[in-house]
Each structure stands twice: as structure tokens, then as C-alpha cells.
């Protein structure tokens, strides 16, 4: 038991002090606040006795829970599906673990527990923010009911994501392409099967059915009700959310699937898997996840190859985004205009993501310092960094750009990307602190987001609401990955 406690404590302690954890928490908090409907949102509502049934605490809680699960599923899978892999890199603690007397079972169970706790902390933040937001909007009259329904929907995410992530980690080994593909397949598969959100949603009722139900249930109390039709013309309404045995059973099933995944990974886990950098790895050229580590000398003007190296990393993520775009294309009845409005705000986070990845690596990598010492190279440095950020950003934005028909928006986005990228790199140079740069972008994005209306989140058509959430999930994944190399290079720097 002692080894498990030690591993879980160390893992969580280290995570709790990483900047990326707080970026992630901030991100999930912002997204949680955005996804909840406002009282004046243009969807159909049933007004009964002065209360909107749609916005009852249990329903809002369940809805927030569903969105939390969908939002966090990919993020957590990507994060947890590479924890063992990261240990095995030269900067990881794999050597200590491999030669410790802790058994394989202890190693994996500890990883599963820490992964579960980490995911649950994110779920908790999402829940609290959603509760506060709903109270702010005047719809969380009963916090206990809100949290109860939220918990019933979302709590099983932790054990499931940790277990599946561990399994993927062991199956993929050092093959990052396989890891990315498996994560995307699992996630899309879960969505397609409705395993994650399915079974928890309130049943959609037709307008007449709902009227009948409401008339019966409210008539006993002498209450009257009226229906405000959705200006968008959608005739779906949600009844209140009952916490049924079925919902609880689904949660148990999901948690159990995580445990099965854990047990399955035990069967294929090998503590003797080569650590990266060991001579036996030289049989096959390694494609590193961290292209900045293998870039050519800082003084060589090969910025095109550097941009290429950055893009190669982004391809891993772009595959997932393309899958998302395909999913979006398959959907029917989508409210594209609404999706684009909120997607636009979220897409503006992309430069933040890539700037965080690229500029934060600079000082540890050393090239930033070298360039700063030679003013003649500042322009070159700024240009290739900007080019890298713009290219990576555009690559990510491509699927939406393809769907976008408004050229004015496209032009605005492109100009915004360029200005922002150059500003970021310059800010990182001037202030010698990429943190300041990221904060600047964060503030800028926040001010922009304040002008966006979140009312496009129409819970009467959940598939519509999913798409901004999909985008948010990918962005969060990118944020997470963007901080991975920092851990590597800073540690390497310390060793040097």
C-alpha cells in the first residue's frame, strides 16, 4: 500500500504545481460558464407557476454534467494516455520506477488512482462553476438538486478515462500516431454509441405531450402554465431530469469499464519496455513528439524546417480535429451560424495555445537566449516563430474555415492571427517572459469573449451544443500538450 500512496501523492503534488494544470482548470471553468444557457436564451421554455421547467436545477445540473463529460472526455484521455510514456522518456521517472521493488500491479493501480483523482478534480471545478453560473443566471434554485444530478451524470468519467487512458498508453507504447488515433477512435466511438452522454438525458417530449404532462401534474396544484415557442422553430422540449436507477446503473457500468481497462492493461504492461534514449532504440529512427528538441543549431537560418517541425506535432492534433469536422458534417439540423459565433471566440484561443507551446519553450531550449544576444537575429527569430504560430493556427482552423462562408469573418480571422502571433512573439522577447505574453492574450481573448453571446447554446438541440464543446475539447488538448515539452526541457536544462 505504501508504494501506491507514495506514487499517487507524488504525481498529484507535481501536477498541482504545474502551470498547465491551472491553465486547464481556468479553461474548464471558462467553458463551463459559457455552455450553460441564459434565462433569455432563445429556446422553447415551459413556464409553469413562474418557473421554467427547462431550467429547473436537476435539468440544468444534468445538462452541465453531460457537457462536462463530453468536454473533458477527450482532454483527459489524451492527458492520461501518455502518462506512462512520459515516464519512459529521458526526463521521466521511469528508471526509478523500473528498478524499484514496487510490483507492476502497484505501478498501474497508482497511476489509475492518480488519473482518476485528477479527472475528478476537473469535474469538480466544472460542476462548481456551472452551479455558480446557473445561480448567477437565476436558474440554480436548488444547489443540492443541481449537484446531485450533475454528480450522477459525470462522476464515472474519472475511473473510466483513467482506465482507458492507461490501456491506450500500454497498447500504443512509443507510437504517438497510434496513441492519437486510439484516443480519437475511443472518443468518437463513445460519442457514437452514446455511451457517455446516453441514458442520462431527459427525455425529449413533443410540445403536445409536454402540455399534457404538465397539465396533469400541475393541475393538482392549481398552477397554470404557458409555452414560449423557440424563435428558431425547434419543437423539442425537455422535461425535468429524473435521477433514475438507470442513470446510476450507467455510471456504475462506465466506472466498471475503467476498471476492466485497468485490468486489461495489466496484462500487457511491461516495465522492461525500452526507455527512450536506450541504445536498443536506435534500431528504428524515433519521431519525437517534441520537435524543438531536435531542431538544428540555433544560428542556422533554417526557419522553414523549424516551422515544419512544429507542424508535424500539430498533425497529431489535427487528425482529431478533422474527425470532429467529419462528425459535424454528418450532423443534421445544425445551426451553423450559432456554432460559428461561439466557435469564433474559442478559435481565438488558438494563438494562445501555440504561443504558449512555442514561446514558453524558448528560454529552456536556449535558442531564445542566443537570439536575444544578437540583435541582428531578432527579426529572423520573430519571423520564424510567428510563421510557426500562424501556420499551426491555420492548420487547426482549416476545417472550420472550409465550412465558413463569410469571407469577412475569414479575413478578420487571418489578420487577427497574424497580428496576434507577431505581438505574442514580440511580447515574449521584450518582456523576457512568455508568461506575460500568454496573460496578455488571455486578457485580450476575454475582452473579446465578453462581446460574444452564449445564447447559441440551444439545449433543445444537443447536437448543436456539442460542436462548440468539441472545439473546446480540442483546444484544451492542445493547451495540455503545449506544456508537455516545457517539463522536458526545463528538466533537461536543470540537468545541464
Amino acid at each position: 500500500m505504501q508504494p501506491i500512496v507514495a506514487m499517487v501523492a507524488a504525481e498529484l503534488r507535481n501536477r498541482s504545481r504545474e502551470a498547465s494544470t491551472y491553465v486547464m482548470l481556468l479553461f474548464v471553468a471558462v467553458v463551463s460558464a459559457l455552455v450553460l444557457p441564459t434565462p433569455n436564451a432563445p429556446y422553447a421554455t415551459l413556464t409553469a407557476g413562474g418557473h421554467r421547467v427547462l431550467l429547473a436545477s436537476p435539468t440544468a445540473g444534468a445538462l452541465a454534467g453531460v457537457l462536462t463529460v463530453v468536454f473533458l472526455a477527450l482532454v483527459t484521455l489524451v492527458l492520461l494516455a501518455q502518462s506512462v510514456y512520459l515516464d519512459r522518456l529521458p526526463f521521466g521517472v521511469g528508471t526509478w520506477l523500473r528498478t524499484s521493488p514496487a510490483s507492476n500491479v502497484q505501478l498501474l493501480v497508482a497511476r489509475w488512482i492518480s488519473g482518476t483523482l485528477y479527472v475528478e478534480s476537473l469535474v469538480f471545478v466544472c460542476g462548481v462553476v456551472a452551479l455558480v453560473t446557473s445561480a448567477f443566471h437565476g436558474i440554480g434554485q436548488n444547489p443540492a438538486a443541481f449537484l446531485r444530478s450533475y454528480a450522477v451524470v459525470s462522476l464515472a468519467l474519472g475511473p473510466m478515462a483513467a482506465g482507458v487512458g492507461l490501456l491506450i498508453d500500454n497498447v500504443a507504447g512509443r507510437h504517438q500516431w497510434l496513441r492519437g488515433t486510439l484516443v480519437a477512435v475511443c472518443w468518437l466511438g463513445a460519442l457514437a454509441l452514446g455511451a457517455i452522454p446516453g441514458g442520462h438525458l431527459p427525455d425529449p417530449l413533443s410540445l403536445n405531450e409536454l402540455s399534457d404532462v404538465a397539465a396533469v401534474s400541475l393541475g393538482h396544484h392549481g398552477l397554470t402554465f404557458g409555452i414560449t415557442p423557440n424563435p428558431g422553430g425547434k419543437a423539442l422540449l425537455w422535461s425535468t431530469f429524473p435521477i433514475s436507477y438507470r442513470a446510476v446503473a450507467n455510471q456504475v457500468l462506465l466506472a466498471a469499464s475503467g476498471i476492466v481497462a485497468l485490468l486489461s492493461s495489466l496484462a500487457i504492461f511491461s516495465r522492461f519496455a525500452p526507455l527512450d534514449g536506450e541504445p536498443q532504440d536506435s534500431r528504428r529512427p524515433r519521431k519525437t513528439l517534441f520537435p524543438t528538441l531536435e531542431l538544428p543549431g540555433a544560428m542556422r537560418p533554417l526557419w522553414l524546417s523549424r516551422v515544419g517541425a512544429e507542424l508535424r506535432l500539430m498533425l497529431v492534433l489535427d487528425r482529431g480535429l478533422l474527425a470532429s469536422a467529419a462528425l459535424a458534417a454528418l450532423g443534421t439540423g445544425l445551426v451553423f451560424s450559432g456554432m460559428i459565433r461561439i466557435g469564433e471566440a474559442l478559435l481565438l484561443l488558438l494563438p494562445l495555445v501555440f504561443a504558449g507551446r512555442i514561446t514558453l519553450c524558448e528560454r529552456a531550449e536556449g535558442t531564445g537566449g542566443i537570439f536575444a544576444q544578437f540583435p541582428a537575429y531578432v527579426a529572423q527569430y520573430t519571423s520564424w516563430k510567428s510563421a510557426a504560430i500562424i501556420s499551426a493556427t491555420l492548420l487547426f482552423q482549416l476545417p472550420l474555415i472550409v465550412m465558413w462562408h463569410d469571407r469577412a469573418h475569414l479575413l478578420g480571422l487571418a489578420v487577427g492571427d497574424i497580428v496576434l502571433s507577431v505581438a505574442l512573439v514580440s511580447a515574449a522577447n521584450w518582456f523576457s517572459s512568455s508568461l506575460i505574453a500568454t496573460i496578455l492574450v488571455g486578457i485580450w481573448w476575454y475582452l473579446f469573449a465578453l462581446n460574444q453571446s452564449p445564447d447559441v447554446m440551444d439545449p433543445a438541440n444537443l447536437s448543436t451544443a456539442m460542436h462548440p464543446v468539441l472545439l473546446a475539447a480540442y483546444l484544451a488538448v492542445a493547451v495540455s500538450l503545449s506544456f508537455v515539452p516545457i517539463r522536458a526541457e526545463r528538466t533537461g536544462d536543470a540537468r545541464a
Binding site: A6, A9, R13, R17, E18, V93, P101, A494
Partner: protein, 232 residues
């Protein structure tokens, strides 16, 4: 007593260790030799980093493949390069490694504090490891290896990048327990300037020369003609 018998492992036919047999007694044994002569591979084999090899490694007469975890409980290995949790302090990291060895919190903390003081890291015990210099991390590595008071201590170039005073301090700390088998790969001959030290010179994965401290001086003088690279 730690023994290897006909130990072989190569990388696709190149490098590695070839039919090496040796018995390591308590005390310091230095592994010397050119780069690629097999020093690190031998240490990794003794540390159970690899699972596929020919021959046998025996601890107290028992093949370690029978119960690797029992052997690991008495063995510590510090590789040439190792990772740490960058956001943990030295004290927290040592407690983590102690926990892996089943030590309880209080005993582990006491031992960790003593080791950090011993390695002149006491003043930095609560600093995050990402702020440590290379030399400090090397000393921390030795603390990490000693946390469980191992009977077998395997060190791969433990003193590279460490100043002379601390080098001596590290070697002294490693050999404090007279029952301990200390095997260290090094290019720094002064690491072996301790009583009763022995050395092996590896060449192409086999032992080309061996001896004690006195014979080491002769080997140093002949170093232009022997496969030993020295750093004075």
C-alpha cells in the same frame, strides 16, 4: 556477493556485454573503459533494467530472475541521466522514492533529511527540483539511491559535473556501509582512490584487466597503451 555468470547482451550484435563472469564483493568496484565498452550495459543488467539476456545474475547465490522485486528491494541504481518530478522538492522526491521501497513516512523523512545534509543539500531541501543545477541533481541522485540503505549500489558516472570536494564526499557516502557492494562506472580515477577499491577495465564487453588500488596506479601510468581513458 553479487555474481554474474556468462552474462551476455548485445545490441543487434554490436556493443553490450559478452560472456562476462565476475563476483562483486562488498566495497567499491570501479568499471573503467572507453565509451561503448559495455560499462553502462553491465550496470543496467545488474539493475534489472533489461529482462532479456543470456547467463545469470545471482545475489547471495540466488538467480535474480527468480524474484526480481526481492532483489530490487536491496538494490539501487543511479543512471547517468535520470528524471525527476520537477515540481517536487528534494525532500518530497526522496520521500516518494522511500515510499516506493515501502518505507513509512516518518522514517523516510528522517533518513532523507540526514542524506540531504550529508550531500550538502540540506539548505535546498525544500526547493523545487527544476531549480537545481546539474551538480546538485547528481548529488540528489545519490541521496535517492541511498534512501533505502541498499546492499547493492550501482552508479553510472555519479560524479560527472561535480566539484572535487563533493566528489569525495559522494564516494565516501556511497561506501559508508561496509556490507554494501558499490559498483561505479567512471572516467575519473580519483573516484577509486579509496581503501580496498578494485577496478575492472572493460573492452568490447569483456573484462580486459582488473586489480586493486595499487595496480590501478600502474594502469594509469600505462594508460596510453591500455584501453583506459583517464581524467585526472
Amino acid at each position: 556477493m553479487l555474481e554474474c555468470a556468462d552474462l551476455s547482451m548485445t545490441y543487434g550484435g554490436n556493443g553490450g556485454v559478452r560472456r562476462l563472469s565476475w563476483s562483486f564483493a562488498p566495497g567499491v568496484t570501479g568499471l573503467l573503459g572507453h565509451n561503448g565498452s559495455g560499462k553502462t550495459t553491465l550496470l543496467k543488467l545488474l539493475a534489472t533494467v533489461f529482462d532479456r539476456y543470456d547467463g545469470a545474475i545471482r545475489w547471495q547465490g540466488v538467480d535474480v530472475r527468480g524474484d526480481r522485486n526481492a532483489y530490487r528491494a536491496v538494490m539501487s541504481y543511479v543512471p547517468q541521466q535520470f528524471g525527476v518530478y520537477p515540481h517536487l522538492s528534494a525532500m518530497e522526491f526522496l520521500r516518494y522514492l522511500g515510499g516506493l521501497r515501502g518505507m513509512n513516512g516518518r522514517a523516510c523523512a528522517t533518513r532523507a533529511a540526514a542524506l540531504l545534509e550529508r550531500m550538502a543539500l540540506g539548505a535546498h531541501a525544500h526547493r523545487q527540483l527544476r531549480t537545481y543545477s546539474g551538480g546538485m541533481l547528481k548529488r540528489l541522485g545519490l541521496c535517492a539511491a541511498l534512501i533505502g540503505d541498499p546492499r547493492v549500489l550501482l552508479l553510472d558516472e555519479p560524479t560527472a559535473g561535480v566539484d572535487e570536494r563533493e566528489r569525495k564526499n559522494m564516494i565516501d557516502a556511497a561506501r559508508e556501509n561496509s556490507e554494501r557492494v558499490v559498483i561505479l562506472a567512471t572516467h575519473i580515477y580519483s573516484d577509486l582512490a579509496v581503501p580496498n577499491a578494485k577496478f575492472l577495465v572493460l573492452d568490447a564487453g569483456t573484462v580486459s584487466r582488473s586489480g586493486n588500488a595499487t595496480e590501478l596506479s600502474t594502469a594509469i601510468r600505462e594508460s596510453t597503451s591500455t584501453p583506459v581513458l583517464w581524467e585526472r
